[in-house]
Amino acid sequence: MSMYNYVAYPNKIIEIIRFNILNRGIPIHASKWTLFGWTDGIDVPREGEWLLFTGFMYQLTPYIEVLVDKLSRIKNGFLLTLGSMVNKVFDISRFISTPPRERIMEVHDVLRNIYRLLVASGYRVWYDEAIDTYPGTLLYEFGLDAELKYYGERLYHRLKSRGVDRIITVDPHTTYILKKVYPSIVPNYDVKVLSYLELIDPSTLCRVESELVYAIHDPCYYARGIGLYQGTREALASVGVRVVEPRFSGTNTYCCGGPIESLSPTFSAEIGRRRLDMLLRTGADKIIVMCPICMANLRRASSSDNIIDISQLLKRANTI
């Protein structure tokens, strides 16, 4: 590869995503079943104390995986120029990204699990499809601050119109934007935001009977963003999970490469490969992640089924 060609068409990709977020409320198309199907078969209250806000990050990841694979094959800028024009009329992501059903079901399983963990810990959790929405993460990451402020104010209005003042999030990016970013740009922002990992009560969990050793990968926006890394280790230790630390962990964690997967799939994949190598060098049997973006990017680099979400591990420890 010649020098300076990892990022081929940033402005065209950013324009497509910006348009979709502002006009369609989501960066790429996902079916209603994908977004909300995790509540099928469980009776989630429509009112309560803590609003469970998924931010769609877990649900969108299977679509992003397919899209990134296609983006990495685009060598012609004209296609993206055409795509960004057509996208204003028809959502092009609808036609180019269809993930496997089992991958979506895996994501539903993760969300259902998180809900059950919270209920077991004694929280009165509620959920409403009309409130849950994409939090605007990519507007933030692309530096589109005017759009982010507009989007954040609209989101805050939506929350307040339902009297929401306590939110539980499920992924680090949504947590960071709702907890750290919007309070600084949305006037009078007053919502208490906590990740489910800060709330689960280890005493409600059963021990995990396993001889496997797990390497832990901290997501940047948990470890450095909100200082969440010790609690996750304590929860895992309390259920008997054997955890090993890779080179670069805790607040010194090493990014999985996922945040630039849409702008530079090749570069992003190479970072994922290097991080995976660090994690495997610990000698661990499996790798624990707690972010859907980390999961997608590390799995892209991995040839075996050895990467699991922390909630999938705690699932076996949950008794309800």
Partner: protein, 98 residues
């Protein structure tokens, strides 16, 4: 929305604290992948931002450098001068989408 002149001033005020000590570089995942080419590291990115504001030059190297940043904040916590490197790079992206 802040005026771009204010944003430029705000970013410059912060990045000009850089003494190019390179403490930020050893933790940067992208510098590693970019084979040590400093445009893929925080110090190089800051240098390019300063050049852009002073000389107004925009080219493929600038976008390549700024858009390969992960905004992972690893560099920020290493900086002895307290520069909010990741946030400066993120905010600078505003100038590339105008």
């Amino acid at each position: 929305m802040r005026d771009l002149t204010d944003l430029r001033r705000e970013i410059l005020r912060d990045v000009l604290k850089c003494s190019y000590c390179a403490m930020c570089e050893w933790v940067c995942p992208t510098l590693d992948v970019g084979n040590g080419n400093r445009i893929y590291g925080p110090r190089g990115r800051i240098n390019l931002i300063v050049s852009y504001f002073r000389e107004g030059s925009e080219n493929g190297v600038l976008k390549e450098s700024i858009y390969t940043c992960l905004i992972c904040m690893a560099c920020t916590q290493q900086c002895p001068a307290g520069i909010n490197i990741a946030e400066d790079i993120r905010k600078f992206r505003t100038f590339l989408t105008q």
